[in-house]
Each structure stands twice: as structure tokens, then as C-alpha cells.
Symmetry: C2
Subunit: 342 residues, 2 copies
């Protein structure tokens, strides 16, 4: 099977698995699907949204596949050699906003991208250039150290089964990516993030054309050092299986954390803190998130792209939590990422 076919089937199956399990976890909420197509046979998707569930104030799970003939600026900035190429991308993404501030918000995304001259024969065939990307990250409003450790330990366990270099690199990459530059704050407690993963298995974090680093020289050097000593070239099948294993870790791990926290009583003041911190989610997604920027730049389906935004949000000028409060403890972890796996 073509890579695009395999990834289409994998990401669609993931969407089905995620939505049906999340309905069970929630208990009363149901996902409602909108199927959509882009004009000119250039793609389509299935957007699924749950509103006002018992656990999830809002949850969205998208699957989509798009094709195009002009790559958006956000991709061309990194890959100028793809100018003029046609591209295809398919992926699944998930964002859950629980109502209870003791339950963390979570995000998951797995995607496949290819570009090349394959459209000449009607869209079949393989792209000359391709990569996989994905990950998952957790955004708690109150810090439960045992949950954070559990989340990271499980991710590391699955990564290590594929390549011991993955967790060290991709957990640092998550810290670098889910970062609100203008506030010098991390969005949450990180997790896993990888992009541009291909058979070279190098995921370069250096842009040769611009002589600049994707995030920082430290991260690029760290990634290069780890890859060169522990890794070997991978086949597409190996990388696909790695992505699938990570994606299938989501339900048991997040389900466990929800199980621990869903019955915790909360106060109006705790709810207000959650609404306030959700503002950071909005800032990150509208200003920095690549999926959001890519989607808005390519005239994607706005409602599907922006369903990652929280259902209710509070902004407050110059707010900082009381020193030594539980809110402050969480914020300090957002300000300085911690290493959760001993």
C-alpha cells in the first residue's frame, strides 16, 4: 500500500478509537460529526465535537486529508526546496477541555506529509519527500506530581521500545515547541513532540538555508548527539509503528489520569484559575501553533481548526497567583520545565 493510504487508514482508525472510548469515559457526552470537503476535490475531513459532557466541557477530534499545489509560508520557510511541489497531508488531532480544573487539558496529534510531483499521474504514487509528525502533551491547571511522572514515564516506556534516543529528544522538543515565547512560559508539562521524521531518522533542527536553529543550538546539538550515537536509519514501517504505538498509549494514560481526578471537588476560585490559564492555551494556539497557522494560511475549515480553543476563557490584566499557593506551584512548573523521569 502507498504510504498515504496506510496513514489515512491509521489516522481514521485512531479517530474512531479515540472518540468511542472518550464517550465511554465521559459517560453522557457524545461526539457529533461534521463531514466536510474542500472545493475542487482538494481534500476533506471529519470533525467531531463533544459539548457539555459530564467530564469534558468540550472535546474535539479531527481527521482530515488535504492536497494542494502551493505550500503555505509556514512550510516553505523551513523547506524552500519544496517550492512549486504539490503536497498531501493527512492526520488526526484531539484536544480535550475537561470542566473540572483538577483534570488536565490534553492534546494529541499524528500526521503524515508528503510533497513531490506525484500529482501528475492523477494523485496516486508516492511523494519524493515525506515525513511523520506527532505527539501528545498535557496541560494541568493543578500540579499532581504523580500524574506528571506517570504521563512521562509511560511515554518513555513506549518510546524506548522503539529507540532509546526518542524520549530524550522528543520530550525536550515538546518543551521547546509548546512554549509561549512572549511570556517565556511553557504551555503545560510537555510530553512528546516530533516532526520531519523520515528514514534518515535525524529530524534536523538546523535550517541550513537560513543558518538558523529551529529552537536553539542546545536542542539541535542534543538531538544530533543522541541520534548519532544510538540510532540507525529506520524504514517507513518502523516509523509508522512508532507513531501508532505512541498514539495508542493515549487512552490508557489519559483515561487513568481522568479516573484519578474526575471526582475531585473544586471551588469557584479554582475554576477561575482554570479559566484564566486557558487564556494561555488561546495565546499559544493563535500565535504559535503550526497546525493552526498552517490551517488558517491555507484557508482550511476554520471551525475545525479553532475547535482546539477552550469553550470558556478569562483574561485578566497583570494577574499572578499568591506565592506558595497551589496555583503558584503549577505556574512555577510552566515557567521552568522539569524533568519528570528520574
Amino acid at each position: 500500500m502507498f504510504r498515504i493510504t496506510q496513514m489515512r487508514e491509521l489516522t481514521r482508525a485512531l479517530q474512531d478509537e479515540l472518540c468511542s472510548a472518550l464517550e465511554i469515559i465521559d459517560g453522557t457526552g457524545k461526539f457529533h460529526e461534521d463531514a466536510w470537503t474542500k472545493e475542487g476535490n482538494s481534500g476533506g475531513g471529519r470533525s467531531r465535537v463533544m459539548k457539555n459532557g459530564s467530564v469534558f466541557e468540550q472535546g474535539g477530534c479531527n481527521w482530515s486529508e488535504v492536497t494542494g499545489t502551493s505550500l503555505p509560508p509556514s512550510i516553505l520557510a523551513k523547506h524552500p526546496h519544496l517550492a512549486g511541489k504539490t503536497f498531501r497531508a493527512t492526520g488526526v488531532s484531539l484536544v480535550l477541555h475537561p470542566r473540572n480544573p483538577h483534570c488536565p487539558t490534553v492534546h494529541l496529534n499524528y500526521r503524515y506529509f508528503e510533497a513531490g510531483d506525484f500529482m501528475a499521474d492523477g494523485g496516486s504514487g508516492e511523494g519524493n519527500v515525506w515525513w511523520l509528525g506527532g505527539g501528545m502533551d498535557l496541560t494541568p491547571y493543578y500540579l499532581y506530581e504523580e500524574d506528571a511522572k506517570f504521563f512521562h514515564t509511560e511515554i518513555k516506556r513506549v518510546c524506548d521500545a522503539h529507540d532509546p534516543s526518542y524520549y530524550p529528544i522528543y520530550s525536550r522538543w515538546a518543551n521547546a515547541y509548546f512554549f509561549i515565547k512572549h511570556r517565556k512560559e511553557h504551555r503545560g508539562i510537555g510530553g512528546l513532540f516530533f516532526d520531519y521524521l523520515d528514514t534518515n531518522n535525524t529530524t534536523s533542527l538546523y535550517r541550513a538555508e537560513e543558518k538558523s536553529y529551529e529552537y536553539s543550538k542546545e536542542l539541535a546539538d542534543f538531538a544530533l548527539g543522541h541520534v548519532s550515537t544510538t540510532s540507525k536509519p529506520r524504514t517507513f514501517d518502523e516509523l509508522r509503528d512508532f507513531a501508532a504505538s505512541c498514539a495508542r498509549l493515549f487512552l490508557p494514560v489519559y483515561g487513568e489520569i481522568i479516573g484519578r481526578r474526575r471526582e475531585t471537588a473544586y471551588t469557584e476560585s479554582e475554576r477561575n484559575w482554570q479559566l484564566y490559564r486557558r487564556g494561555r492555551y488561546v495565546e499559544f494556539n493563535l500565535v504559535y501553533d503550526r497546525g493552526t497557522v498552517f490551517g488558517l494560511q491555507t484557508q482550511g475549515r476554520v471551525e475545525s481548526i479553532l475547535m482546539s480553543l477552550p469553550p470558556m476563557v478569562r483574561f485578566e490584566y497583570d494577574y499572578t497567583p499568591e506565592p506558595l499557593s497551589r496555583e503558584d506551584a503549577m505556574w512555577q512548573v510552566n515557567l521552568k520545565a522539569r524533568d519528570w523521569v528520574a
Copy 2:
């Protein structure tokens, strides 16, 4: 007096006038000031915020002046010839979010920018390149045609006293600027917007270097046609007085509209509509607003930049108002800008 000195004094005086009058209009709310300075003597400002007033759920009024030696990408994209020049900018901005959904949100901004080699002598002197920018725009949640007409008619009256070409060009510019591209929706009902206003009085909307139009060929042609037939070169004093006249129109006009609407009773459903539409304000400000992007790119004071965001916001997937409802009537005007002056 140097231009920068005049504009500093004007914009500071405007901040004082606006804040003291808005406290009277509100009745109970008070502005609290944070004075701040950027490190390295590179600028500072006075941020003033009112929270939980009787009328204003939140209001922010900033004055600032910054200097710098490396212009941000958002300016260099339009003015590549300024690369390497030092710059100074001073301005006042205001955003008011009333609690009552029948009272419109409003935004005002007046600013002066100059760049050149003037820092060589310690920061005195005049920039080689300078311009004025500013405007004000109204974002109602419920359409009151008489308010919209009043707002635009008063703006036109003040503009016409300076130059009959101003209102036709700058009201169209407001429609083009306060536009949420990914939704093809206007943020509100427009008003006045101008930028790059200098003694040529041409405010070019064509970027010669990139052979592209600032918004559209239609707007650029319209502006050029109007300017060439009705306008003449202006002195700095004339432009400063034009900006000051527009800024001083704000209080009587917005105060009148608040007076008409502040006692209107509202339902929870109307409040929900307001919270939902405030989401569009967030989308515009974080994705498109030049002041916000400029501020975040130049490591400005985040809390001062983002105090334009509404205090409480609701996002909802795929929401559209009932056809023929009052909410729909407002939305239709956001979708297609209307000409409010007969």
C-alpha cells in the same frame, strides 16, 4: 519643539483626558496605573486598567514610548529601506469592554513613528522618516443603526474639516484593516484607520518592493484617485492637528452611545452572544493586529499589549445565530460592511 516631543505630550495628555472622563462615565470604576520602563533606557509607559466598573467590565488605556535599534519584521516587511535604522515610537491606545451586550466595545489608537540616524547624538533630533497613524473603531454586539450612523457621521464631519478625502479613504481602510481574513468577517462596523501618514499625504497602499498591495488593488486605487484629485501636501502641524481632532472626537461620541445603551436590560442569552463574539476580538488581536504583533515581536510588556483582550470569552464550535434574529442581523453586517453615511 521636536515632533517626538509634541507627539509625546499630545498622547500623554490624551491618556489623561480619556481616563478621567471614562471614570466619570463609568461612575464607580477607577483606572489603576502601572508605570514601567524597558531595560537599557529603551522606553517605558503608563498602563492603566479599570476592572469591574459599573459600565466597563474591563477597560485599558496605554501610553508608551519606545526606542530601538532593530526594527521588527512587521515594519521591515513594508519598509525594507529602514533596515539598520534606529527608531522611536510613541502612542496612546484604548480598548473598552462594557459588560452590557447592548453597549459596544470600542478601540482607539493614535501613534507616531520615526526612524533615522538621530540616535547618534544621544537621541535628540528628528527622524529622517516619520509617520502618524491612528483611528477608532466600534464593535457592537447588537446593531443599533442610529448609533452606527451617528458614529460614522461624526467621524466624517471631523475628517471633512481637515480634508474631504480623509473619510472616504480612512473609513474604507478601517474596513480593510479590522478584517478577520480566515473568517472573511469584519471585526465590527469600522470607523477610521490611517497609517504611514506623512507630508506627502499619500499613505501609499502599494508596496513597491514586493509589488503587492497592502490590502487590495481596489483600495489602493481608490485612495490614490481620491488623494490626487482633492488633496495637497500637508505640514506636520496639520497632520498632528488632524490626529488630535479625531482623538478628541472619541469621548463625546462614545459617551453618547454609552448613554443611550447603558440602562438597556439584557438576558443571559444576549450576554452569551456577547461572550461568543468577543472570541472574534481575540482572534483578530492575536492573529492580525499590528500593534499586538509588533509588541510581541519586540518583547514589549506583555500585560500591556494583551490588556486589549476581553475579560471573559466563549468559544463554541460551529455556532451560527438563528436566521432573522437580532444576533444574525449584527453578524450579517460583520460579513458585509455597510456604508453608514448616506
